[in-house]
Symmetry: D2
């Protein structure tokens, strides 16, 4: 009810504040037998951690994740997997000057009114530091998805006005990590980095767009009427700090098309039914159709800036605020692994949910040859 859990079967519950003792997550429903690759989890954490490059916040955190439960001899046991990071470089005194002030476009005001009190240090629970827990959980989901042939990628496609013109099909996902900004169009990436540096010099911030791509998704994921796959993806990424918009497939651009242009025509190739175009973004009727799932996510410029701003204090009186805390000039590069994590969590959850859909749960993807063998093998299973 309080909204700190996500997912139905592969369920994550996060806890922790920016300047509290620790931030962590409990993953309940991770399938027993999953190989827990601790190094991979830590590697994902490194992609999100502050201080990783010169275009992100300089708060220094190792974000070394500790696995507390649910793993035995390297494998998930089916019991809850708790993972945690102790906060280290939390300069809480940085925030004492805003204890009774509401920073513009931050959550100070709304938290104060909602809860009647708030942990003002670094935004407390509203800080994006919470997302480290999502990345840890998402890493587990990614391992699970990989074993099911599903890959999840996200990259920065736009910073301010600077956007790559290339569709995702023309970009090499292996280059996402090639630059600090995580745009695989390397030419544009350089410009983005320069832009972010310039913005930082002004003490200002800038927004952008992240593109998400899921490949290898089996047909059949998504639960109409309400838990449509894209609806759950929308909620998942919209719950990331600073996110302002979500579109999949043709998205907002599709509104100007006619149905006759927009419809994705089915055809058969290599014994599989595919669509010639993919305005549907890999999802039809809320259910994955086997094509690539692709979507775009808008992020606003982060609210913490250096120049003085007017605001009010708890008494409603006008005050001036200056941004002393360390912060990101552009949240996009660090948001990439978070978007991937949230996407992976949705897919892992729906992959498990799909197991309950039919009378007999079988491997979803079977080619014709496999079907034949299965038919013969069937007596084994009754």
């Amino acid at each position: 009810m309080a909204g700190n859990s996500f997912g139905q079967i592969f369920k994550v519950s996060t806890f922790g504040e920016s300047h509290g003792k620790a931030v962590g997550v409990v993953v309940d429903g991770c399938p027993a037998g999953l190989d827990i690759d601790a190094a991979f989890i830590q590697q994902e954490m490194a992609r999100r951690r502050p201080g990783q490059s010169n275009i992100v916040t300089q708060r220094q955190e190792e974000d070394a994740i500790e696995i507390l439960s649910g793993v035995f001899e390297g494998k998930a046991t089916g019991s809850p997997i708790a993972m945690m990071v102790y906060n280290e470089d939390a300069r809480s005194k940085d925030y004492s000057h805003i204890a009774d002030k509401y920073r513009p476009s931050h959550a100070d005001f709304t938290y104060q009114i909602k809860y009647g009190l708030r942990d003002y240090r670094g935004g407390g629970r509203s800080s994006a530091r919470e997302t480290l827990a999502r990345v840890a959980a998402g890493a587990l989901a990614k391992i699970f998805l990989k074993q099911n042939g599903i890959s999840v990628h996200a990259y920065v496609s736009q910073v301010g006005h600077l956007a790559t013109e290339k569709p995702y099909q023309l970009l090499d996902m292996q280059l996402i990590e090639a630059t600090a900004v995580r745009c695989p169009d390397l030419e544009v990436a350089e410009q983005m980095i320069e832009l972010i540096k310039a913005v930082r010099k002004d003490g200002d911030t800038i927004g952008g767009i992240i593109q998400g791509v899921v490949q290898g998704c089996p047909i059949g994921l998504g639960e109409p009427a309400f838990d449509k796959l894209h609806a759950d993806l929308a909620k998942a990424v919209m719950s990331i700090n600073a996110c302002k918009g979500f579109e999949f497939g043709s998205g907002f651009a599709g509104v100007t098309m006619r149905g006759s242009q927009h419809n994705d025509i089915f055809y058969t190739e290599d014994g599989k039914i595919k669509t010639k175009t993919n305005h549907s973004g890999g999802i039809q009727g809320g259910i994955s159709n086997g094509m690539d799932i692709h979507f775009r996510v808008a992020f606003k410029p982060v609210a913490t800036i250096v120049p003085a701003q007017f605001s009010v204090n708890e008494a409603g009186e006008e005050v001036e605020i200056t941004g002393k805390g360390r912060h990101d000039p552009c949240v996009l590069p660090r948001a990439v692994p978070i978007v991937e994590a949230m996407t992976a969590l949705v897919l892992a959850d729906h992959l498990l949910r799909q197991r309950a859909t039919k009378m007999e749960h079988k491997k979803i993807y079977l080619n014709l040859f496999e079907r034949c063998l299965l038919r013969r093998a069937k007596p084994l299973y009754r």
Copy 2:
């Protein structure tokens, strides 16, 4: 788990198919004592029903809603409220020709693979006919919200390339129902209607954008970290058939702004804390801040068109399909009450969820005078 329920406290579960016996909804968690205005519910149904004007589908359904339970002497009793409509004008034979064919950009293919079988008549469960149940439930939510001073409006702001230039603040919400297209900018509305008629003449379809506006929302609704108010709104509207994108506040346009431009500066007016701009769209940190909540929703052109299209059948063989069923040339006018309904459901749910947030639940909005009186009255409440 199967995804036919929505909401945590004010929870709706819908059932029914396009050409089955009935479509309905069970609302569990409607507060006891709510006045059940059956006429208002029916009026909302009329805004969604087919055949309501000459720019929507001509399937004729009265959609007379029957209240089966949960109401006694005109008031909600706190027990589940079941509401139902029997299907009338269901010409199932219209669909026999597509029993084994997959219509492009419909859910035929994905349902068949997901469930192993499907009710092909009119799209079965994937039909937007399911949304009548949402509108009925949404009407209850609207009554509840109205008693809490909250209004919910949606209107068509764009059809194809035709868009109103006026922001919602300059439009009169009372004019939404003035035209069949439900755009309160009457000049643009006329053009939209002409465009839709032209599209229909071609046997084609067209998409568009719906603007949503919530006014009078108290401060404090929304449950971080995952059930942020805008994340739940995103999921709610994205679960509506044909929806492709969601943005709130500055949305996708905000990505090009600097933080110094984008931040909404707080000030005090009439003893209330407000923001000068509203790029936040009334939601900060996932929690309503008392300003208007505003968002935009993209709808694709509906997939059913008259001209012949190529596709495949269940065997994967190429077939030709022509659209015989009655359908909407543009889903936007009928989607307006659905967007309102889903918005109202989210707000009603969060309004009730908010009651559990603090040690003592008090009326959220109190001016200073009321606070004084409350303080004196307090001994009564121990």
Copy 3:
């Protein structure tokens, strides 16, 4: 949140009041492809319906169930299955005399205070008439379980002081329906019937115990730590009207045993691991162990009696109440199908939940020969 839904995957939501328009249920999560045997569902309804014999209430209801959705050509489609019964013989005027009075040990008082108003006709929502919806849903669950080799039986083992001495293993489940009282120990059954008739003559009521037995349950159902199989069974049957206690396996009697007596010793028979005794009641650590699941449920005497009783009205003034409404002298015979239904719902739900537990979901029960073949067949499943 409002508690009218049960189950996680195989989820049922009931609605309706004793004297409202209709009583019904929505089953969301019934696996697609399940054969919907409408005759069997109706047969289960007949076991619960009033007026079925001369030892139950004489309210006459056919309880003809109408299937409204989710079924196509005799099979579940994976969409919600709504089922409904219109109330017929609802003599609401029978109840006008208690509109402002609180009947002793009924829910009149608690509903009035909880909700601030109540539908007093026949107990409204608190009436056991709600359980017809459970029986309809339970019938679906039973069909599903049967296809998985699982049988669910319940029978009356005690009425007042009259109890069968025979353990369930010595009784023939086929004889449960042989008498109106549903005790398969026919000698005791006759005495029970006489007792109930005598109690009815006094205008009084009497309680009793129902024994539940599940056979053929696969190993592995139940989700520690909280959703242990017996914990979910306890909640399921305790939620039935008039239920006062639940015990499984050795139950309350086991408290006087030593561990060395109580422990169930494992041994191998026919390639399967079994236990020599079954004090565990088929459940160890909250998970089914493949042995019979057996439990006992206590029901109090129903509260509606003919003799005058003192009570209070809404103003707190003393009043006299006489039971005019038709009622059961002993709820046990009609509670048998309800206990079976709730048991079946728990098992169906956990059977589906179990599918998500491991990396690969396989048929749980395999003998050694099957395992060998499976190992060879495995390449098919990558």
Copy 4:
């Protein structure tokens, strides 16, 4: 779905194994503003911890609880409260001899089959060590309940055949902690202690019964039809390790009564409506009626015993097992705080759920004088 969470609004999720790194809990939904009395939480932990007396297991654990999040300046912030204990005295080598053996009446076998692998050290997740997390969470619930005038007590009423004859009304709850066995009938307590010592000398174990009592519960808690207050209590306590039965009010004994004897007659005292007897156990129609809630819980003798027992190993071969691990001769004394914790969690959850039931949430308990004042004060709240 995996069953490691409990509660709807006041929701707890536990994690950790007997011999893993840590055991902990995340409480999501604890009302903001609650005073977090860390000393009280630790005191509750001490009542459950091993090694606390000479009639419990001698495993030595301080069980010093660390609060990781959700608390700021001594108060709950409304964010998740994570609490954790690092395991200390975990002699995992004690268990290597049972790595491939199934201990009788333990969860070794069912875990192995359910999950395909298991953490065999001390029972892993199936160990009652998990319950320390429940006690920590329950302590928060107790603080919340106390502020609402609700007290929760449990005590040992029976060990083996030794039972106190006194009803709870004649016992002093302050004496529960007076003896190591937690039976407030001090004479019987001494006999119980002697019995447990004798049982321990035999290397054996013994079961018993715990009585639970809730006082000061407001009228109106419980959510029909499925989440009846006693149904949720039943599930809550039945989910505790070794629990075999639950009854409330008249329980199993009530089945032999006539309705005319069993009905609780209402009367008015001090302006409050009460019942003369309390066979209902404080709950009618699944909703609290303001009288004491009382129930009894059966615990089996724990399965770990010293004498050699026969069993099977994973290959199904007969093996001999001897109990080397430290264990409790009788689980009852340490189960008392666990029963209290689970009871408190149910009540705290329902107290918050009740806030959403009506159009306007008001303090539930008002005497006539308060009602009058409230009516005059009402204009303040519109």
